[in-house]
Amino acid sequence: MDDNLGYLFAAFAVTWLAIAGYLLYIGQQVKGLRDEVRMLNEGDDSPGV
């Protein structure tokens, strides 16, 4: 049953890589929203607006 270690490693690796990937995706969403908010704030602060 020693060769089953590869399957065990694969299952844990896929799980944690997918979760890490999702966290990165969420981080990108937050960054996009921050950029949008900054743009809106700059628009509000600019002269003549």
Partner: protein, 259 residues
């Protein structure tokens, strides 16, 4: 330059859940590899159980929350309930994908097959397609309100699949084993395995809660910004209320990003 704002309750909740999830999951992984005994029949492949079962639980939980959010939206037309449902649907898709992949990896050494068209696997695959359909109806409905309504109907109907998945091993002859924790006669596994599984279940449930709170904040900020842009289009001069909205979103988003 963006200044650091004092943390509000929501930011503290995200941070607290995140830290707690990391601590409990670290303990769970340690127990899965060190504390839990090696299965006599399956060897080390059986340890996949400690991620596969929590993924299945989170897929059920996520669909349950989609159901609650969908019913709430259809009943009250509440944007908050719609955000709850769509945030949980995204996580449900992630965890259903993972339960299918980890199950397939586990099945290869034990059943000598990556996939079998048997009841448990097929009904879980149907759940995965329900989540995909949930996002497709939103994307192709035309307008956001109609998309939310169609998705809510799918969220309510799709939830019926969860008890079918759970009961499938009892209703049909399957390769997949029957439940050993939620067995009517009580848990049918050694205490050390049961405790390890419970710790992993707690850790992954905390991770789900952490991701849900974070995702709800993002969806809320998106909704407010979309509404603000619409208001700005209708009244280009802007007003104090709009500036307050941007300031509130700015605080929330910067808090979420910095934590």
């Amino acid at each position: 330059m963006m200044q650091r704002k004092p943390a509000n309750r929501s930011d503290m909740l995200v941070t607290g859940l995140g830290v707690l999830a990391v601590v409990v999951l670290t303990l769970g992984i340690f127990m899965a590899f060190v504390y839990a005994p090696t299965d006599r029949d399956q060897g080390d492949a059986q340890r996949i159980f400690y991620v596969h079962v929590p993924m299945a639980w989170l897929a059920y939980l996520a669909m349950g929350v989609v159901f609650i959010g969908s019913v709430g939206y259809m009943w009250k037309r509440s944007a908050r309930m719609d955000r709850l449902a769509r945030s949980s649907a995204e996580l449900g898709f992630l965890f259903t994908t993972l339960v299918l992949i980890t199950g397939s990896i586990w099945g290869r050494p034990i059943w000598n097959a990556w996939w079998q068209w048997e009841a448990r696997l097929t009904t879980t695959l149907i759940l995965w397609f329900i989540f995909i359909g949930y996002f497709m109806v939103r994307a192709y409905a035309g307008d956001a309100e109609r998309g939310a309504r169609y998705a809510a109907v799918l969220g309510i109907i799709g939830a019926i699949d969860v008890p079918i998945i759970h009961q499938s091993v009892k209703w049909w002859r399957t390769l997949h084993p029957e439940p050993i924790v939620l067995d009517t006669a009580g848990p049918n596994l050694p205490d050390s395995m049961l405790v390890t599984l419970l710790v992993c279940l707690a850790g992954f449930t905390l991770l789900y809660a952490f991701l849900m709170v974070l995702k709800m904040q993002i969806e809320w900020a998106r909704d407010v910004l979309a509404e603000r842009e619409l208001t700005a289009l209708l009244a280009p001069e802007g007003n104090q209320a709009e500036r307050r909205t941007v300031a509130t979103v700015s605080h929330k988003v910067s808090g979420a990003a910095e934590d």
